[in-house]
């Protein structure tokens, strides 16, 4: 839409989300400016993934407003489509299409959703595969790649849609330790280029060095948000302190 600097790219106002009688999100207020890098952390079941999944309507919120680049998310399919064109997503389990080659994984949505020609799609796909440093894997199937490589492909696939925002849902949680850094490196590069990013992650080193703001969630609420230095060195909430003690104890 327009490049109105005063308006946040993502605006969540008093958002509630229920799964049956379980309340997954409570009264979420969140604003994200263009180019901001947000890390969301918190114990499992705290609603981190649900929050970002509401942003591209993989989950439907039950109350409140979510406005993405001026488009409010309602049941209107055109609006949902419009938001999804602006928001890319990277999943914990990569979710590459197993029956398509790597390059086809990167081309399919360009062709179907953006109506890009086959040649143009392939060109862009190869460009992003080079950016994540695995162009030589283009004609393989996902199962033939390591987890780290698959996740880099998944990031490239999201980038091929040229989104304004990328959501990362625990992108390194399913990876063997030696593969985590190759994925984080790609994410750090993206952050440097000014991509608006929201990452649900337990990688506190990444959070400290890359995030503009860290959000701590517990029991469906945003408990605390702060810049990394303040967040790690001087957490205000008791719950945040307990969480940090737990994950940083080793």
């Amino acid at each position: 839409m327009t490049d109105d600097n005063s308006r946040p790219l993502i605006q969540m106002v008093k958002v509630d989300k229920f799964f049956g009688s379980f309340q997954a999100l409570r009264n979420i207020d969140l604003e994200v400016q263009k180019g901001e890098r947000i890390v969301i952390c918190g114990p499992s079941g705290s609603g981190k993934s649900t929050l970002i999944r509401c942003i591209n309507r993989l989950e439907k919120h039950n109350a409140g407003e979510i406005i993405i680049d001026g488009i409010e998310l309602t049941d209107k399919v055109e609006d949902i489509d419009a938001v999804r064109r602006e928001v890319g997503m990277v999943f914990q389990n990569f979710n590459l299409f197993p029956h398509m080659t790597i390059v086809k994984n990167l081309m399919i949505a360009q062709q179907l959703v953006r109506k890009t020609s086959k040649d143009e799609s392939r060109k862009l796909a190869m460009r992003y595969l080079e950016r994540v440093k695995i162009p030589e894997q283009a004609d393989k199937y996902p199962i033939q790649l390591s987890g780290g490589q698959q996740q880099r492909v998944a990031i490239a696939r999201a980038l091929c849609m040229e989104p304004e925002i990328i959501l990362f849902d625990e992108p390194t949680s399913a990876l063997d330790p030696e593969m985590i850094n190759e994925v984080l490196d790609v994410m750090v590069d993206l952050a440097k280029e000014g991509m608006t990013m929201i990452c649900v992650t337990h990688e506190m080193g990444f959070a400290r060095s890359v995030a503009d703001r860290i959000i701590f969630m517990d029991e469906g609420e945003i408990v605390e948000q702060a810049e990394p230095a303040a967040f790690f060195d001087n957490p205000k909430s008791e719950r945040t302190r307990a969480f940090l003690d737990q994950i940083l104890s080793h």
Partner: protein, 231 residues
């Protein structure tokens, strides 16, 4: 008890003369049944309760009754109705082959639609979410993600159903059709040698089944090419 080898050698070629009829029953009702199965599947997945409900009742009826009874109802029962005799379908229904194909089609369609549904339900939800996140529409996801993956998942059970259908075609012999089983029964009536004739008939079906298994093995390897790490 004696075992007459010459009788086998004598009757084998005669039974094989019915191979074409058996093959026709299998292929025609198999293909029509697959189309019916896809229609039923789409009805079940439509999200419209009335379509879903109609498909469920249909499937329940055809899975809940013996195929032999279905053949008898169609062959002996339908011509009782004048409306059927006056309809355009009469040219098909007055022939026993038409009745057999209809019964086999209706029956296999019910089973196969459930097999396909199993395949659809087996597709990883995360892949469909990835499709949504990329902006793909429900139809695009169904065509480009669900269909190819569900096909691969459903194939082993589907090949089982095709083999089962092959053997159901033998029931057509009960309504005067001269498929391989029909011919075998005639030979037995003439020679009073059920042992030799039916054993050789059984072997012919086994060879046929072997061919179907091999064919589906090729399909499975082709559709599963992406699930192998080597190459």
């Amino acid at each position: 008890m004696s075992f007459d080898l010459n009788l086998i050698l004598d009757s084998l070629p005669k039974m094989l003369a019915g191979f074409g009829v058996t093959l026709q029953l299998l292929v025609v009702s198999g293909l029509l049944g697959l189309i019916l199965a896809i229609l039923l599947l789409l009805m079940r997945l439509s999200g419209k309760f009335y379509l879903d409900w109609v498909a469920q009742v249909y499937i329940y009826i055809f899975r809940g009754t013996p195929i032999l009874v279905q053949i008898f109802i169609i062959y002996y029962g339908l011509p009782q109705f004048e409306a059927v005799r006056d309809s355009v379908f009469w040219s098909i229904l007055r022939e026993p082959t038409g009745c057999a194909i209809l019964a086999l089609t209706l029956n296999t369609g019910a089973y196969v639609s459930e097999i396909l549904r199993g395949g659809v339900l087996g597709v990883d939800k995360g892949l469909l979410e990835a499709g949504s996140a990329l902006g793909m529409s429900a139809r695009q996801k169904f065509i480009y993600i669900t269909t190819p993956l569900a096909t691969r998942l459903a194939l082993p059970a589907y090949s089982n159903d095709v083999i089962s259908l092959l053997k159901s075609t033998a029931l057509a012999s009960t309504i005067t059709i001269t498929d391989m089983t029909g011919i075998a029964r005639t030979i037995v009536a003439d020679t009073y040698a059920p042992y030799e004739v039916f054993i050789s008939l059984a072997i012919v079906y086994m060879i046929f089944t072997f061919g179907i298994q091999k064919l589906f093995g090729v399909f499975e390897r082709y559709l599963g090419r992406y699930a192998r790490r080597e190459e």
